[in-house]
Amino acid sequence: MSTEKEFLMVTARDLNLSSCHVCSQLSPATVHLCPRCMSPLHLRKVNSIQRSWALLITAVMLYIPAMLYPVTSVYALGQVEASTLMGSVIHFLESGSWPIAIVIFVASIAVPILKIIGLGYLLVCVQRKKHENRLQLTRLYRMVEFVGRWSMIDVFVVAILVALVQFGIFINIIPGIGIMAFTAVVIVTMFASMQFDPRLIWDS
């Protein structure tokens, strides 16, 4: 039984085959263009770890202004009220609409932080060649991939708010630096997780 299992656990890399990222066609590692879909072939994504780290660190740096600077400034009746991401969560909590507070908290604060930590953890594990719980790491990778796009909620909220209110009835809403930095965080983390190659988790 054990010999059969070992026989089954052969990877494409063991056979010196590269699997096309685009169409899954297998080719010998000496071929550099997929014969089926003409996309470039690699055994693993090129410089996956370095690129992921670079983008991840960029995201961490952008996250600081995203949290500190106001996301929107509301001009109403001669007063200016600027609110940050965390500020709008607290505002919703205080005004009693806690379902929305939870949505914004999860999408704009919890998801980006967990995504950055999760991807950082994956990268550290791959670099230190920790291979005890590969299946959990793969699941973590899938979560990081799935969850990232949902952080865009707040960006869209600002876009709609600004458009609706711009035709100035009695209030005026101006987007702040915070939301620009936050948009960049979401995009950069999405690129970072795309650069990560989950097959590195399984390479021994």
Partner: protein
């Protein structure tokens, strides 16, 4: 070794033998559980139908009034384009470009790209541009964020609810339907089997 009979898991690189599976079934990697390939029911026909529906809904969504805001008896209506142009006018150019791409351009490219492959496939022709078109369609797929936008609208409803009345316009409902249809069309197509359609494995 016959390479066409083998497939490597795209998440853990384990080699599997391709075996025919029944309609509606999926082949999973035995080590990490990722989907290797799946046999969708009526893949080409269903995806074509859903993409045609999506095209119609998309055209309605962008052309008719999207949301109205009513305060002190005045109603102002905006369409989807204005959520992009308003940001641009306020000098948030980077943000308006991002919103424009993930909300308007990517969905349109996906629908048109898929239709340009699916309509010829339906009459048993493989168009010469199909490979690079499908390559682009797959590459831009993660940037299609209209379902996230829909949740954003719901949050805005609550946010402005105390200040003004928000009235969903005709195209809001078309847009909500578009989200459902696009998700359905993403589920109805399977990448590996679709590539096999473009160049059958011998």
């Amino acid at each position: 070794m016959d390479l066409e009979k083998l497939i490597a898991c795209h998440e853990c690189d384990l080699i599997h033998e391709r075996k025919p599976i029944c309609e509606g079934q999926a082949a999973l990697c035995q080590r990490c559980g990722a989907s290797l390939y799946a046999e969708k029911v009526d893949m080409i026909t269903r995806t074509l139908a859903l993409n045609l529906t999506a095209l119609i809904l998309y055209m309605i969504s962008v052309s008719l009034p999207f949301l109205g805001i009513e305060a002190r008896g005045i109603v102002v209506e905006i369409n989807l384009f204005q959520s992009v142009t308003a940001l641009y006018k306020l000098d948030m150019k980077m943000m308006s470009i991002v919103v424009c791409i993930v909300l308007l351009i990517v969905p349109a490219l996906r629908i048109l790209g898929m239709l340009s492959i699916l309509i010829p496939l339906k009459i048993n022709k493989v168009p010469p541009h199909s490979k690079w078109t499908y390559y682009i369609v797959e590459w831009i797929a993660p940037w299609n964020m209209i379902e996230v936008f829909l949740i954003g609208i719901l949050v805005t409803f609550v946010k402005l609810g105390s200040l003004a009345n928000i009235l969903p316009g005709v195209s809001f409902w078309a847009f909500a339907a578009l989200v459902v249809v696009i998700i359905a069309s993403n589920i109805s197509v399977e990448r590996h089997r679709f590539w096999d359609q473009l160049e059958p494995i011998r």
